[in-house]
Amino acid sequence: MPAPERADLEAVWQQHRRFVAAVLLAHMPVEAELDDLLQEVAMRLVRHGDALREPDRARAWLRTVSINVATSDLRQAERRRRLLRPLTDADRNLLAVPADGESAEGRRILSEARALPSEYREPLLLQCVEGLSQRAIAAALGLPETTIETRLVRARRLLRERFEKHARNAP
């Protein structure tokens, strides 16, 4: 099969970039920047896209690259912490965007979702960000559909329990 043309790579990226975002969200360090990591994955697709000769394998290839990028960002985050001073409260006040109650709840639940065990958070985020069906998630992760359904049930139950526990403990 011939190496993909530029237009093929563009099509692959446009079709799968939300999937890449969901995988990155599930695997990247909490303080990492999604924007940076997405650019890194896009760059690797351009550099190494000729390895992508089978379009059907695009999701699996992008998932592997995304997990590698997210993992290596952990090491870069360590270097950044050594180079730069941490943000002060004054910095945070400067950058803070006023949040209404609804977006505060959204941020809390997203934070809880990203703290779930990885086998639960990835299918959950793939369904939320990309709107993938259980069958498509199963194909992307190489797992039986019934396993994905079980993981989604457990993910939602854990998320609900953690959210309710947080709500009970809130002042």
Partner: protein, 195 residues
């Protein structure tokens, strides 16, 4: 505490994969336990909040295009951006070294004013002269926009700038506490490291 069968039915309802027989079973269970609808409503609320929270990630993904092959080859690694930011911060700490003829208002304002006050692009040009490149933007924060419309992004732009400097002065304070300046020899090279 809910049983696992109910969890499965609620998950199918949320994921829109519930079959007619699943809904019938939910109906039958709710007849005996009306609180089930309340629990399902709570699930829907959390699901909606999570969906709105990840909308920022979706918008970020949609905004990222594929770089050209040339840009991909030339792209500065993300770590270099932080190194550059560190060098800029270090240069700011050494701000006693200022180019002669630079606008005093901008130079005296200090880091706080540079970040808080609206920057006058024309005044900035007097110092910077020429922007020769830009590192990838660094996303600080992304949140759903007010009322769910759009996304609010706070990001850091990092530019490389070139300026011609004919002399350097060091700003000090004399024995009477008055601002004073003294000419300095040209410290070349200022930075020898490659980014």
């Amino acid at each position: 505490m809910t049983d696992s069968r109910e969890d499965l039915l609620r998950c199918r309802a949320l994921g829109r994969t519930a079959t007619p027989s699943d809904w019938s079973e939910l109906d039958a269970r709710a007849a005996a336990d009306p609180e089930l609808w309340h629990r399902l409503a709570h699930d829907l609320r959390l699901e909606g909040s999570l969906a709105r929270a990840v909308a920022g990630a979706t918008a970020t993904a949609d905004a990222i295009g594929l770089p050209t092959p040339a840009a991909a080859r030339l792209r500065v690694p993300a770590s270099a951006g932080w190194l550059a930011a560190g060098l800029v911060a270090a240069a700011w700490c050494c701000s006693a070294l200022v180019p002669a003829g630079a606008p005093p208002a901008l130079l005296d304002a200090g880091p706080a004013a540079l970040t808080r006050a609206p920057v006058d692009p024309a005044a900035l040009r007097l110092v910077s002269g020429e922007i020769v490149g830009e590192l990838p933007k660094v996303l600080i924060e992304s949140l759903p926009g007010p009322g769910g419309r759009g996304v609010q992004l706070v990001y850091l732009r990092q530019t490389f700038e070139r300026v011609q400097v004919d002399s350097f002065v060091q700003e000090t304070v004399d024995e009477y506490g008055a601002p004073s300046s003294a000419a300095l020899p040209m410290p070349i090279p200022l930075i020898t490291e490659n980014l």
